[in-house]
């Protein structure tokens, strides 16, 4: 799978964060500002939550912090009501957070005034919505060119650019169709093209594929990965579908009741779930499709013999095909071809069955 490598696992220096969210709170109620003022910052998180709830306020996002390095796909995963969409809307300032900081290249987005915010959205952000949000009275080209119209670019230029975007998302030939003439998948391609039209640095996607049929959804996910390989945007992607998160993410952030439960790479999450809540998601995940060779390898098995070799990001489903009656060791190699570890059948089976199952055998 075309994933960029996880910084820590590769042992490289951590990349500088493009987008940083620090202690973000969103509280709904009669007086959110009042409830979170005073000695609120001096309390522990549990005290804070109790304090807000005692005042009959609702916590949509509680003390959310994370970093997204440039060019990475950061997936926020949670069930409905977990606060995932709220966090995304706070970052894009569609919703004003109650407290906290959001840094883009070191500048606090929350301090931007109305004029600056419009400028930021025109130049630096693009967003895709679950219900597409296409304007029914505009055709495909006009919809895609819409953000450029907002920037008052000349008509011919924006139409030409919109055509490029339409071709990029594979809708060539549908330029003059209206939204109601398109299928759901095609409409979302228009939504994607529109969000990319202004060539943003940050790309926000709010459950973009949830309204689509499973087969179309899978196609769109592949398409999304293809686009990202080409474009290398910094992405925040919200979904309630754990498998989608595993398939797309460089990092996953699992949320529940407005709080972050766990942040980690897909492999970290499936191998070391933070708690029972996360473990429940993993229950029916086909792990062989999620884990890569390097996620489960042991130390290199140096017995002087030649073993079959797999690149470190090979998924287990592929790697285990190399085991046979005569082969009990498969070497894992890094990008330079050096052996960095080895797979043996027992560890592979253990990892696929969540350890505890194997322990019973």
């Amino acid at each position: 799978m075309p994933k960029s490598s996880d910084a820590a696992a590769a042992g490289a220096a951590p990349k500088k964060a493009k987008l940083s969210v620090r202690n973000l709170w969103k509280v709904y109620g009669d007086d959110p500002g009042g409830v979170t003022s005073g000695d609120f910052n001096g309390m522990t998180l549990d005290q804070q939550l109790a304090h807000v709830r005692a005042a009959d306020h609702f916590v949509a996002a509680a003390n959310v912090s994370f970093d997204v390095p440039e060019g990475e796909i950061f997936v926020i995963m949670g069930l409905s009501g977990s606060g995932k969409s709220t966090v995304l809307r706070c970052i894009s300032r569609l919703v004003d957070p109650t407290m906290g900081e959001v840094f883009l290249d070191g500048d606090d987005l929350l301090k931007a005034n109305a004029r600056a915010l419009i400028e930021l959205r025109r130049r630096k952000m693009g967003m895709v919505f679950q219900d597409f949000g296409l304007l029914p009275h505009l055709d495909v080209v006009q919809n895609v060119a819409f953000p450029l119209k907002a920037q008052r670019r000349p008509r011919e230029e924006r139409r030409a650019h919109a055509r490029e975007m339409i071709e990029l998302v594979g809708l060539k030939g549908k330029e003059s169709a209206y939204p109601h003439e398109l299928s759901g998948g095609q409409q979302q391609r228009v939504g994607i093209a529109r969000s990319l039209a202004a060539n943003p640095e940050l790309w926000f996607l709010d459950e973009p594929f949830s309204a689509l049929d499973p087969l179309i959804r899978s196609q769109m996910q592949d398409e999304f990965l293809r686009l990202q390989k080409q474009l290398s945007k910094t992405i925040v992607f919200v979904t309630h579908d754990f498998l989608e998160a595993l398939k797309l993410a460089d990092k996953i952030c699992i949320m529940k009741d407005g709080q972050i439960v766990q942040i980690g790479t897909p492999a970290e999450i499936v191998l070391h779930p933070a708690d029972a809540y996360v473990r429940e998601f993993i229950g029916d995940v086909p792990l062989a499709n999620v884990l890569a060779a390097e996620d489960v390898m042991g130390p290199a098995h140096d017995d002087g013999k030649d073993h079959p070799q797999v690149p470190r990001r090979t998924i287990l489903d592929e790697a285990i095909k190399l085991f046979d009656d005569h082969t009990v060791t498969v070497d894992v190699i890094d990008d330079a071809g050096r052996v960095i570890g080895a797979l043996d059948p027992l560890t592979v089976i253990r990892s696929l069955y969540h350890d505890d199952v194997v322990a019973d055998i």
């Binding site: 959205r121 025109r122 130049r123 949000g133 029914p136 907002a150």
Partner: protein, 687 residues
């Protein structure tokens, strides 16, 4: 305690106030001969609200009149200009322009309909009055639309404004327009401007509602994507919100157009100026049915054309619209060319400028003759139909069986034995209700039978107040009870109680007729595509027609009186009942019907136990509308000599008595709102 016992206890707790009230009513009824104040609210207990209103109004009018007269002069100028354009242009040009606009909206079919309609107006000889009315519509319409849009957008943007605007709309639409014609009359003086201002007020509400609805139903994703595209506030409004809300707003414009036309025509009552409403009204007053029918048809034609053309423009906004018309610039270019050519043709051939007299054909006299012949031949049958309805339905509800059953009407006297038997049946039905656990039905039977026995005008007012308030309290809590009690008290202390009960009488007969006929038609329509297809255009027609056109045929056949009014009210108010019954029954989910069938329901059971209960919420909405329509039509029906609040308003209009008119109008609105709020409480409880 068992659950059944608990339930019995609870229903007993709810039932005893009713029983107590029934007992109190019985006592009041027994005492009514010695104390007349029990049935007729005593004059000494009233407050002169109408007079106070007049004093306040006089004070205000004296100071505000110059200001309003100035506005009036402005409107008058706009109207005169429009009148000059429409009446002085060659008819050929006007027809060509209308036809072209119709074509732009709905294609060739609509253009042909427009030409045929306009030809009828020309041939029937009512071209000038029609154009005069149309000038009023064209001046009032932009004002109503602008006002409606402004208020609607304000209501969308600000929740605080919405709290004020929405009840105001209820008032603007439920207070009969005649009631506020009087203050307008006093402020603006006589003349077409009064009708113009009244129609702006009357026609703005649908635009407000549709504007609010249109903006509120913009999908959130569109608003968010507009913000994320970096649109400024103005750009968001202009490029995203307005176009998305436009379709709903065009529906609003369509409704506002129809309301404007309707009101402009009704305003003829306060004095005409050779407009088509005046033609109808004056020929109706002179009992020239042929003329009133011919001119009424002109109104019908105008209504249909305005409706179809505005509706076509609204439909064109649908993304699925097949017809697009010309691009705006080319369309206006073509329009200008056609107008110039038509005017030039008018210069060349005078007959194309002013419609030649010899092509006018009016069969009015022939119709008058035919109606006379018909009445001479079938008058007996018509009379017995009318008298039957009058003696056996209208009178009992109006004055009660105890006074309606006399030898002159029923051919028998209401013997004491029969009276005892009547009440015994009521008591038994009530007991049976309680015994089977359906105490509500039992109570309803007793109250219903008492209503028919004493008549709307014979009930003790204290009981009516009590029953209405109790019903409101049990359905909607103390807030609703306070509203209903307060509104009823308003009718009492203003001394308009007897008129209000007369209105209740005519209205309730009309509504029951609508429930019966409309319900049956709706059920029939829901079961047969063919029937449904046949009913729909009739319904559309009845709804688009300005209300008082409906009086004409009823008046032709049955002369003035309650029965004529009843027919006109039913014709107008039955439409929502039919529509919502059919719609409710049709929209029962197929899964439920399948489930019913597979549970072994007979068609009869399927209807009563599955489809009807499921359709009930929709039917209640229809019923609510029917009541509001009936009350609205009641005022118009007062033209044909009914008594009640409507008559009171007309009398006030004649005397330019703003206070009396407003009090009666408000009374009417309160009646409508009582029924509306109670029905809404019923609907909420069913959900």
């Amino acid at each position: 305690m068992s659950r059944a016992a608990k339930r019995t206890l609870r229903s007993a707790q709810m039932a005893w106030p009713w029983l107590a009230l029934i007992a109190a009513t019985a006592i009041l009824v027994l005492m009514r001969n010695s104390t007349p104040a029990i049935v007729g609210y005593p004059d000494g207990w009233t407050i002169p609200l109408a007079e106070w209103t007049n004093i306040a109004a006089d004070w205000f009018i004296e100071r505000a009149q110059p200001f309003f007269r100035a506005i009036g002069r402005g409107l008058d100028a706009a109207f005169s200009l429009m009148q000059i354009i429409l009446t002085d242009l060659p008819w050929l040009a006007v027809c060509a322009i209308v036809a072209l606009v119709a074509w732009q909206g709905g294609g060739r079919r609509l253009a042909i309909i427009a030409v045929i309609g306009l030809l009828y107006i020309l041939i029937s000889g009512y071209w000038i009055p029609a154009m005069n009315t149309l000038s009023l519509v064209f001046v009032a319409l932009p004002l109503a639309v602008g006002l409606g849009f402004g208020l609607g957008y304000l209501g969308y943007r600000s929740a605080k404004a919405r709290v004020i605007i929405m009840p105001l709309l209820d008032l603007m639409q439920t207070v009969p327009a005649f009631a506020y014609l009087i203050p307008i009359l006093l402020l603006f003086g006589f003349g077409p401007v009064v009708g113009l201002v009244a129609s702006v007020i009357f026609a703005a509400p649908p635009m407000v509602r549709n504007t609010v609805l249109g903006f509120q139903s913009i999908p959130p994703a569109i608003l968010e994507s507009a913000r994320m595209s970096g649109l400024t506030g103005w750009q968001r409004f202009r490029w995203a919100e307005l176009p998305t809300a436009m379709r709903q707003m065009l529906i609003g414009i369509n409704q506002t157009t129809m309301a404007t036309l309707s009101m402009v025509i009704i305003a003829a009552i306060i004095g005409g100026f050779e407009d088509i409403g005046w033609e109808v009204l004056s020929s109706m007053r002179k009992a020239q049915f042929g003329q009133s029918l011919m001119s009424g048809l002109v109104i019908v034609v105008m209504a249909i054309l305005l409706d179809r053309i505005t509706a076509a423009f609204a439909a064109r906004q649908l993304p699925t619209a097949s017809f697009e018309g010309l691009p705006p610039l080319r369309f206006f270019g073509l329009l200008a060319i056609v107008a110039v050519v038509a005017i030039a043709a008018g210069y060349a051939v005078p007959g194309l400028w002013i419609w030649p007299e010899w092509v006018v054909w009016s069969p009015a006299q022939d119709i008058n003759g035919a109606v006379d012949d018909f009445l001479i031949r079938y008058g007996g049958a018509m009379d017995s139909l009318k008298n039957g309805a009058l003696y056996y339905v209208l009178l009992p509800v109006k004055i009660g069986l105890e006074r309606a059953i006399v030898p002159f009407t029923w051919g028998v006297t209401f013997a004491p034995g029969a009276k005892v038997a009547y009440w015994a049946v009521a008591a038994l039905a009530c007991l049976a209700g309680f015994a089977t656990g359906k105490w509500r039905a039992g109570i309803a039977v007793v109250i219903g039978m008492a209503f028919v026995y004493f008549g709307a005008t014979g009930l003790p007012w204290l009981s009516v107040l009590g029953f209405a308030t109790l019903l409101a309290w049990q359905l909607g809590g103390w807030k609703l009870a306070a509203f209903v009690g307060g509104s009823t008290a308003f009718l009492l202390v203003n001394g308009i109680w007897s008129q209000a009960m007369l209105s209740v009488y005519l209205c309730s007969v009309a509504v029951f007729t609508c429930i019966l006929l409309g319900g049956l038609l709706g059920i029939w329509g829901a079961s047969s595509k063919w029937v449904s297809g046949a009913i729909r255009p009739v319904n559309d027609m009845l709804q688009t027609l300005p209300q008082f056109v409906l009086l004409i045929p009823a008046l032709m056949l049955f002369q003035v009186g309650d029965f004529t009014a009843l027919l006109a009210i039913v014709a107008y108010a039955i439409v929502p009942m039919i529509r919502y019954t059919e719609f409710g029954l049709r929209s029962v989910s197929p899964t439920l019907i399948d489930a019913g069938i597979s549970s072994g329901c007979s068609p009869w059971q399927l209807f009563w136990q599955v489809r009807l209960p499921q359709a009930m919420p929709q039917i209640l909405v229809g019923l609510n509308q029917t009541v509001l329509y009936a009350l609205g039509m009641l005022v118009i029906a007062a033209l044909v000599g009914t008594t009640g609040l409507g008559q009171l308003i007309f009398l006030a209009l004649g005397r330019a008595d703003a206070g009396a008119g407003l009090v009666a109008g408000l009374g009417m609105a309160l009646l409508a709102m009582i029924v509306d709020r109670i029905l809404q409480a019923v609907m909420r409880r069913r959900l």
